[in-house]
Assembly symmetry: C2
């Protein structure tokens, strides 16, 4: 199951979720050398988001109560082989950014101030590594430059970009052109159209040997700083490095317009709803039901575990959807344990955790008064845990063999 999730390329991995499989992939996957050199990230986030027609710059717009930039940072932070993430913001957004770092518990971030253009901001980010007295930002071998507004960057692509940058000096993600590109005359008429097959859209992330891109910025002109935006171009022009180009998935797209926030939200929601954990207990009937459920939830990634104890913490941290099966007569202790665990691990901070408690009644005995008491207790519990972003539902199934 885990392997399937890792290799699926249609859907991005949950950007806000530390996946157990991430750590395994970089080291264990055949054909992929592990990253055994220091890698850092520069995230220019100084944009004003004019194109969206929103008061806040788009990187600070929230999706499901979390700023876009926090998803992007998390996409890097979850990878053990990536060190510091230097976030370059406009001076007026410094405090806002520090608040985000604190609220969403980002641990690898170093916030620096940017310049007036994209190139100036990236150069500011790169200069953060020159200060050798700052142990937070040791000079990396490879630096990845990304956009704060591309939250769905996957490890697979980051690995390819990083390894190609180490080998070639520079690398960049590309996508096929969606529209034909045309050259215009100065009077606003068609001059000629480009043959689509020969060109690509240059996207992010891009990777560079730190020394290459730093040197390129040191050598480039004021004109480049003012009007340029393409890092690959600087590496070529000022260091003679032809970047290796790597085709990325469509989810790499840049959140540019207001409508893109709705699109990003849809992707995040779909990703969150695509996995579940079934806690089956020890009874044979529950285990059987769990297996049937797992079979029928074949669109989702499901795990079946016997209990929500500490030893299964890995499974519990992988998803936010839980189905807790138990037999009539058993109390809601298992559910309580689980809620406690989520409180301790702060698992519901970003998104709600959904727990469906299914009580199976396989006998014909039913003590109505006991049931009513249970129901009341469960309702009270549900109304309490909702404060901690845990949504608790109960289902009772009466079934005789």
């Amino acid at each position: 199951m885990q392997q399937e999730r890792c290799s699926s390329s249609d859907r991005p991995l949950d950007p806000g979720c530390v996946l157990a499989c991430d750590a395994e992939r970089s080291a264990d996957r055949p054909g992929c050398a592990p990253v055994d050199f220091p890698v850092a990230v520069v995230l220019p986030a100084g944009g004003s988001g004019e194109r969206m027609g929103l008061p806040a710059p788009k990187q600070f717009c929230t999706i499901l109560n979390r700023p876009l930039i926090s998803y992007t940072i998390q996409a890097f932070e979850r990878l053990p082989w990536i060190g510091t993430v230097v976030v370059v913001v406009a001076k007026e957004n410094h405090d806002l950014m520090l608040n985000i770092v604190q609220k969403f518990n980002h641990t690898k971030v170093n916030v620096v101030h940017g310049g007036t253009t994209r190139h100036r901001s990236i150069f500011s980010g790169l200069q953060a590594f020159c200060n050798t007295s700052n142990s937070l930002t040791p000079k990396p071998k490879v630096v990845i430059i990304h956009d704060a507004v591309r939250p769905f960057v996957e490890e697979d692509l980051l690995l390819k970009i990083t390894l190609a940058a180490k080998e070639q000096g520079a690398s960049g993600a590309i996508r096929p052109l969606v529209s034909t590109v045309i050259a215009t005359t100065s009077e606003g008429y068609l001059d000629h159209s480009l043959e689509r097959a020969k060109y690509r859209a240059s996207e992010m992330p891009q990777g560079f040997l730190y020394d290459v891109i730093f040197q390129a910025y040191q050598r480039c002109s004021e004109l480049d700083f003012e009007f340029g935006s393409e890092c690959l171009h600087l590496a070529l022009q000022y260091c003679g490095v032809n970047a290796k180009l790597i085709e990325g998935p469509p989810t790499l797209w840049k959140v540019t317009y207001k409508r893109d926030l709705a699109a990003a939200e849809a992707i995040i929601k779909e990703t969150l709803s695509m996995s579940a954990c079934i806690i089956a207990g020890a009874e044979a009937e529950a285990t059987e039901l769990a297996k049937t459920l797992q079979k029928n939830l074949n669109m989702m990634e499901t795990d079946v575990i016997p209990c929500a104890k500490e030893s299964n913490a890995g499974y519990l941290s992988k998803t936010r959807n839980f189905i807790h099966l138990s037999m009539t007569g058993s109390n809601s202790l298992g559910v309580l344990e689980m809620v406690k665990h989520f409180e301790d691990t702060d698992h519901a901070r970003l998104y709600p955790v959904v727990i469906v408690w299914v009580q199976l009644n396989m006998t014909k005995q039913s003590v109505d008064s006991q049931k009513t008491d249970e129901l009341t207790a469960f309702r009270i519990l549900a109304s309490e845990v909702i404060q901690g972003n845990v949504l608790l539902y109960g289902i009772q199934i009466e079934h005789t063999k």
Copy 2:
């Protein structure tokens, strides 16, 4: 109010709503000559939608229970100066398309079969006008070629495209490039990057003198038919016509990926929620409340009218959100009248109509038993009208001066 709505470019006009202002604009706007020559549309819709990873081609995917292509057709049908809309579909989707035409009451559509490539399909569409015995598709002066998957095309742009095509022979919508475009070497390395400012993305719609584009297709090669996709290029290469390029709004984008459906839905929902009609009755207190409401709903376009009678049909057809104010003691007759009007005009077929009935109690008299009866009657009414896609809500406000 109406004028403001017409000139707003941030948000597309409701694609499914016949706007009273549309008809006015083409004739009355200063600087814009009216379209006094026949204009038709060709909508190639033969695509398979592979990029979305969905079973249905993307033009047939539904947004709020309506296929994407139906929104696009409606965007043209609502304009009185546009004649036939030729929709070109793959043979296997012919019946599906006819069902859509019938279900969503499209009146200007002629469905024809397409070829195996985009250019072949467009040519099939153009050939539909050659059959002079078919009075449904008289030969137009100007033909607009558009994409079935760009539902938010506005009259303003269509007018500019049409008039420029009449004058220059060809015209096309363009957008700035979102990404840098790069040329690649055959080994997958960066060759060079293009200077972004000199190039544009060629989008849709495009307009042509019918004779120009038809001749271009008659002259073009098998290679063009097989591998080309840019109509402007054909007009240039085979008829020597340099198209006039016109910058379009960002909402022109092409629904390409699954996430774009979520983005399109967000745009449609926002548009639907941005207008309301307040029915204030004759009483002074209700009129006063209506004015206060209108002032406070300043994010929305609101109209205040005295009653939901036939004479106000224009206001009623402009929105799907209604606030009906009345004084205690008055019955729900006004609401009933309105529901009846919407049934007759089929106004709630595409989207729900929302009616909030606000009953103002300005006196201290309150006859509890009468109230309960009213409440019951209102609830029954609400549960009945929901079948016809009308959502009815009631609010009672107790207020003494």
